[in-house]
Amino acid sequence: MTQIYTSQTHERDLVQACKRRDRKGQEAVFKRLAGKMMAVCKRYLGAGPLAEDVFMEGFMKVFTKIDLFQEQGSFEGWVRRIMVNEALMALRKEGKMKFQETDFGYEIGQTEDAYVNLEVEELNKLIESLPLGYKTVFNLYAIEGYTHQEIAEMLGIQEGTSKSQLSRARGLLQQKLNELHV
């Protein structure tokens, strides 16, 4: 008897199906998380074939290493971490991971409600426009919620570098936001 998986199927059941190497279960997981994970890959790598490759590699790792998932935290969070790690590895392989120390000299000013209410597309454009080092640290800290210590370990940099990169990313974003709303 083959089990049918719908959008209502509980995450735990899908994980169990994946652990049994049930192809239907794997397909359900893929369809449920693919859109979000593709967004993660594009945020780090930009829209292009590299993001798609990393997305595929990430999902392969999810399905082949599913037995390592302890089912204590969120499954989506676990998959997201794998995607982020894969994206960082791809950046490292490409030799693109460089951290600019240039200070743009922008002060972080008062935030306006307009900034908070920015649409996702606009936000993506803003983040995409940042230099790679700033963008990576900003994504990891502000969007994924990693601490500076975790970011430093993930990127193999000093904690201070992570902080300075974030500060500069924020400054540059502020400037770009101001330009948008002038």
Binding site: F30, K36, M38, M56, V116, L123, I143
Partner: protein, 247 residues
């Protein structure tokens, strides 16, 4: 002032985080099919390995056994040949000693009708000497072994001595056999035996291949062949031991 801006920044970022984490990008067509194909390719070799490893292990063991058996039979045969080359002198000496021993016993026993006995022995010896050519090598070796043991035994008591000549009929048979002829016979027997062994090994390998291809019906035959190979090995080993004891 700085604290308030930091708080504003963090609240803005948390609002962005919520939005960004819920963002969904469009997925190109056929991506799941690609993924499924990759998963199939990833899992297939494992399944193949799980299904085939017992067969591969058995094949390896069978090949090892076959090689070992053929190697030991080669060694055994070469040992037998070298042993047979040395055999004539030793057998002659042993036979002469035995003849002298039997004659002295025969003289000492006036109660026995030695002349009749000797006639009977020679008759039996003549009768036995002809079928010796057809008896297998192992039996001939057993006879020789008896000679070796007897050389080391203490002289029998008076009562037991009466029975000894009957046993030593076999020794007379040994004397009548031309050792060189025996060597030739053994060589030809070995040549005959070696060819079927190779054929048997080839058939065994063919059967193992058939089993691997998915014809488990041959398995019982292969098992029987394993037993045959093992028995042959044990038999050959015993033969070698016997040969060395004679020397």
């Amino acid at each position: 002032m700085k604290n308030s801006t930091d708080k504003d920044q963090k609240s803005m970022e948390s609002a962005w985080r919520r939005k960004m984490q819920e963002e969904i990008s469009p997925i190109p067509e056929g991506l799941w099919e690609k993924m499924s194909a990759r998963l199939d390719a990833e899992e297939k070799p494992k399944v193949f390995f799980i299904k085939t490893w017992p067969w591969a292990a058995m094949l390896a063991v069978a090949l090892g056994l076959a090689w070992y058996a053929s190697d030991t039979t080669h060694e055994a045969d070469s040992n037998v040949i070298s042993g047979l080359k040395n055999l004539p002198t030793t057998t002659k000496r042993a036979a002469r000693q035995e003849i002298a021993h039997v004659r002295s016993l025969a003289r000492g026993k006036s109660r026995l009708n030695s002349s009749l006995k000797n006639e009977g022995m020679s008759e039996r010896a003549l009768v036995k000497s002809t079928p010796v050519e057809t008896i297998p090598r192992a039996e001939a070796i057993q006879v020789k072994e008896e000679v070796a043991i007897k050389q080391n035994t203490v002289l029998p008591t008076h009562v037991a001595m009466e029975k000894i000549p009957e046993k030593e009929e076999v020794i007379w048979v040994q004397v009548d056999i031309d050792p060189m002829l025996q060597v030739k016979e053994d060589m030809s027997n070995m040549a005959e035996k070696m060819a079927p062994k190779k054929r048997n090994l080839g058939q065994l390998l063919k059967k193992i291949k058939q089993v691997i291809k998915g014809n488990p019906g041959e398995w019982s035959e292969i098992k029987e062949n394993f037993h045959l190979v093992a028995n042959k090995y044990v038999q050959t080993e015993e033969n070698i031991k016997q040969k060395f004891q004679i020397q």
